[in-house]
């Protein structure tokens, strides 16, 4: 029974979204077709009862699949990198500064942005459930919601980020933000060296979801900062 491991690639997680509970050898999956049918039946019932509007459901799914996601947060980060006054506002009144770029709404009503520096590394988790800043990062990935991440981020943050390939020096303060209330956290990563000439859009393209959670740094691809 291996207790560690780091699996990458789309095949790592069962395609039906099951078995995310912790990489166990024995998977105890509900039959996916069963859930497909049960959810379909429930939706029909709720439509029939007039409790939900199918077009509203479609719009919600479309929104979270296509309109809200980490590109929003990346734009916030890039703006902070190029505009010191914006960065100042972002760190002092994060919700308002994020709203300046048009982002807000459910699970992002009370935002706090925490800044990484050469001496401080921030990491965000929700040990009790899966709180996550939806308006700027979209819906959380499965690993963020999973027992392995939730359990270990607060007790072994250095080990956790190491699994993501990030080795934090001993003299760096690691600050873990456990989202136990309605405040949602976004990490402002360090701007990588050698990006002085890049436009705000190019910078935004470098910023990853993982860097804004705090499990990665922003890096410049080898080929000169182009993607």
């Amino acid at each position: 029974m291996t207790r560690r491991g780091f699996v990458t690639g789309a095949g790592a997680v069962a395609a039906q979204g099951h078995g995310h509970g912790g990489g166990h050898e024995h998977e105890h999956q509900a039959v996916p077709s069963d859930l497909t049918l049960r959810v379909k039946a429930l939706e029909s019932l709720l439509v029939e009862k007039g409790l939900v509007d199918r077009a509203a459901l479609d719009a919600l799914v479309d929104t979270y699949e296509h309109k809200v996601g980490p590109r929003n947060g990346a734009r916030v980060v890039a703006r902070a990198w190029v505009d010191p006054a914006y960065k100042q506002r972002l760190l002092t009144d994060s919700t308002a500064a994020i709203a300046e770029l048009g982002y807000g709404g459910q699970q992002g009503e009370y935002m706090v942005v925490v800044e990484n520096t050469p001496k401080v590394h921030n990491l965000v988790v929700c040990t009790l459930c899966s709180c996550y800043p939806w308006p700027v990062l979209g819906l959380p990935p499965v690993w963020y919601k999973s027992a392995p991440y939730r359990s270990r981020a607060v007790i072994d943050p250095r080990g956790v980020v190491r699994e993501f390939g990030l080795e934090l020096p001993e003299d760096v303060d690691v600050r873990v933000w456990d989202s136990t209330a309605e405040i949602r956290y976004l990490v402002l990563p360090e701007r990588p060296a050698g990006t002085e000439q890049l436009s705000e859009d190019r910078l935004a393209a470098l910023v990853t979801r993982d860097a804004m959670i705090g499990v990665a740094k922003v890096t410049v691809p080898k080929a000169g900062g182009q993607r």
Partner: protein, 220 residues
């Protein structure tokens, strides 16, 4: 409640399973469960704390076994039944009970965009309340073990910390989850040294910040 959902600091949950280029939903039903939950939420029959509490009440083995949206599906059905929106018989049969009234959806398509980009009605409360603690003050997280919902994780209870910032006034989950009142109070970011939480083996410079309500804290 001291449930298995309160998993900060546990060992043995296995490796982190990272998926490259993860899709937003892994199957169509996952997106529908999310959308149904949001759309039914617009009926305001319950609040976010009651929603979290409902998930915590999934039996522990099932909680660990189920996928995320499977838990959401379970919660949605339980809450709708509990609050009279549907009956178990309707969910089982998939058929609306004879003679049950036909409603008009609470969430219309036009409301979706504001919901996700400009939603104001959450758990902050714009009331003037004196904070019990001030920034920089040493505090101790209370040793409480309520059988109901709470947002004070076990790993912080009894531990010493420092008020790092005052977030303002929010409804209190412990009462709100059980519809026992909003009991609004200040929420603070409280800094705990990793060594205070986990002992001498923890890295000396590391810390964990938790957002904690007045009622979770006492002067140190």
């Amino acid at each position: 409640m001291n449930g298995v959902h309160d998993m900060g600091g546990m060992h043995g949950m296995g490796p982190i399973q990272y998926e490259k280029n993860e899709p937003v939903f892994h199957a169509r039903w996952e997106g529908r469960v999310l959308a149904l939950t949001r759309a039914i939420g617009a009926w305001r029959k319950w609040n976010i704390d009651a929603g979290r509490y409902q998930i915590e009440q999934i039996p522990a083995a099932d909680y660990l076994r189920m996928s995320y949206y499977e838990k959401w599906f379970t919660r949605l059905v339980e809450l709708m039944v509990k609050h009279g929106l549907v009956t178990h018989a309707e969910v089982e049969s998939g058929k609306r009970a004879k003679g049950s009234p036909k409603a008009t959806p609470a969430l219309t398509p036009a409301m979706v965009a504001p919901l996700v980009s400009n939603w104001k009605s959450a758990t902050g409360r714009d009331v003037r309340l004196a904070p019990s603690f001030k920034v920089g003050q040493r505090v101790r997280a209370r040793n409480i073990n309520p059988p109901g919902h709470t947002r004070l994780p076990r790993y912080a209870r009894g531990k010493l910390g420092t008020i790092d910032r005052d977030h303002g006034v929010y409804v209190f989950p412990d009462t709100n989850a059980q519809f026992l009142g909003e009991k609004p109070q200040h929420v603070y970011s409280v800094l705990f040294a990793a060594r205070e939480l986990w002992g001498a083996e923890a890295a000396p410079r590391d810390s964990v910040y938790l957002d904690l309500w007045d009622d979770y804290l006492e002067p140190a």
